[in-house]
């Protein structure tokens, strides 16, 4: 998918860093600090950039961010929306999924919840090409593995 020009000017990668940072709450403290500081990346620039980009999320939702650090101390990063399981847990108001999914049901959610979650997920870089319906189906699949049942109407 990359153009020839991109390949030729590709900078050598020093490391790939994965972090979980609360939205709008990136600070130079651990975990951000040590992880990025090791590669001499500009911490404050990352914090500012990350905080600006996650402004539209509720504060302190844990965002997964993948940073590609290049050898010349520059970096790029991708912010992914919180995991589907996190959204499901919040929507259902539970702390963890059921211990025996398939056998023991933890809770139920309505299709409206699934639809809302799917809408948020659609803006994720990896899902933009998927139809809303297929995103919903995969969310329902995730819910099943957590022991959350999806019903048409919550009574």
């Amino acid at each position: 998918m990359s153009t020839l020009k991109e390949i030729l000017t590709r900078r050598p990668v020093a490391a790939t860093i994965r972090l979980t940072v609360p939205a709008g709450g990136a600070r130079p403290a651990p975990p951000v600090g040590p992880a990025l500081g090791q590669y001499r990346l500009n911490l404050m620039a990352f914090c500012k950039d990350f905080n600006a980009r996650t402004q539209k999320y509720k504060p302190d939702t844990p965002m997964a961010v993948t940073i590609t650090a290049f050898k010349d101390s520059t970096f790029e990063f991708i912010v992914k929306s919180p995991s589907v399981t996190w959204y499901l847990k919040k929507a259902a108001g539970i702390e963890s999924g059921s211990s025996r999914p398939g056998h023991v049901m933890a809770t139920t959610l309505s299709v409206r919840h699934i639809y809302e979650i799917a809408k948020i997920k659609q803006s994720d870089p990896y899902c933009q090409y998927m139809s809303l319906e297929s995103i919903c189906k995969s969310i329902i699949g995730t819910a099943n593995t957590m022991g959350i049942k999806v019903v048409n109407e919550l009574d």
Partner: protein, 382 residues
């Protein structure tokens, strides 16, 4: 049980969705399904049960200094190249705060890769690693060594990378430990420490350029969200009569004070105040910082103390929430500059500030924007 087996198998195939773009279309749906899924995932932050969607989690970070200096556990894990990616994801699920995969030794001679992972001090590293290995179906737990991280190591390392920057002709920002390249120009000596504002970021530059245009001499300047104090110091150098910097972060105030001293600016010309933000509880701040900060009082200003120029370089949400506060501190007709916003966040800011400001103009750099305007002489309604 079979479900878990399938989960392990599919994670194997789906993980490559992250690393190779060409496989994106095939594997991404599976990745979506199975990323970070495990019924036993420990929530990374304390969750409040039965929360409706509209309310976020309580703030994770304790008062700034304590999280900053708290020790962390750093673990170096050796594992095979093929599973490194998935293993890092699994580690994140089970409690690691970050994982780093070094690409340096990516040569074909060794099949092993090093993952460096950071855990908060309270985590049980052994349990976490064994759970992660278990969820991937690894036959044995990869070898790893644990060490406690030294707090100041990484602070020093980031500081090493700062260099002198020429923001515009005749204005340089020089780190404390370097000599100014051009002694004739206006040099601001800075030790950014842990606060924002080294002069490199586009928003800082935009604000500095705006300041240069706005300050003609003798103005009272307010730096709303001062960070390292760079804008307040620059304003004084451009000719302002008084700079006041406020911030909710005590580390920023300490940084700014140091920087003022570096530039030989006394406290009568540059006043720094710590104000309580909405999210942090004032009592904790004052308890910890009363000894160091004598300027902790709430800011109540009379009419004569309003400012001629205000610049707020923060973030979108604070700018929207504090719009009234920012504008109320300005004299009518005063110039107000706002930054720290991405270009696509501009419409929101313009909507919020158009009833308050006249002559709104926007400058952009690198996808960041800076908005400037003058306070309306007569505000409708207020």
């Amino acid at each position: 049980m079979s479900l878990r087996h399938i989960f392990k198998h599919l994670t194997l195939t789906s993980s490559y969705g992250f690393s190779t773009l060409s496989h994106r279309f095939i594997h991404a749906p599976l990745t979506l399904l199975f990323t970070n899924i495990n019924p036993k995932t420990q929530p990374l932050i304390p969750a409040e049960t039965s929360l409706p969607f509209s309310h976020g989690y309580t703030s994770v970070t304790e008062p700034q200094a304590s999280t900053l200096l708290c020790p962390y556990i750093s673990v170096r894990i050796q594992c095979q190249k093929e599973i490194a990616d998935m293993f890092s994801e699994a580690l994140m699920c089970f409690g690691a705060s970050s994982t780093t995969v070094d690409e340096d030794n990516n040569c074909d001679t060794s099949k092993e890769l090093c993952i460096e992972s950071i855990f908060p001090e309270s985590e049980d590293v052994d349990v976490c690693i064994s759970q992660a290995a278990d969820s991937l179906g690894l036959k044995e737990i990869p070898s790893y060594e644990v060490k406690t991280g030294e707090q100041y190591d990484w602070i020093k390392k980031t500081q090493e990378s700062f260099d002198s920057i020429e923001v515009t002709e005749g204005l340089w920002i020089v780190p404390e430990w370097k000599t100014p390249p051009d002694v004739q120009a206006m040099n601001i000596i800075l030790n950014p420490g842990l606060a924002f504002g080294t002069g490199e970021h586009p928003t800082t530059r935009l604000c500095l350029l705006l300041l240069q245009r706005l300050i003609e001499g003798g103005e009272r300047f307010l730096d709303y969200g001062t960070g390292s104090g760079i804008l307040s110091i620059a304003a004084l150098k451009f000719g302002a009569s008084l700079s006041v910097g406020i911030d909710i972060d005590p580390l920023a105030i300490t940084s700014a004070r140091q920087n003022a001293a570096l530039n030989n600016i006394g406290p009568e010309k540059l006043q720094l105040r710590l104000v309580s933000g909405n999210t942090s509880s004032p009592s904790i701040d004052e308890q910890k910082y009363d000894e160091n900060q004598s300027l902790c009082e709430p800011v109540v200003e009379s009419e004569s103390e309003k400012y001629d120029v205000i610049i707020a370089n923060i973030l979108l949400n604070p700018l929207l929430e504090l719009a009234d506060d920012i504008v109320s501190r300005a004299k009518p007709g005063a110039a107000i500059g706002l930054s720290g916003i991405l270009s696509d966040q501009l419409p929101d800011i313009i909507d919020r500030y158009s009833p308050l400001l006249d002559n709104i103009s926007v400058s952009e750099m690198d996808n960041w924007a800076c908005l400037s305007g003058t306070k309306k002489i007569i505000l409708s309604g207020s």
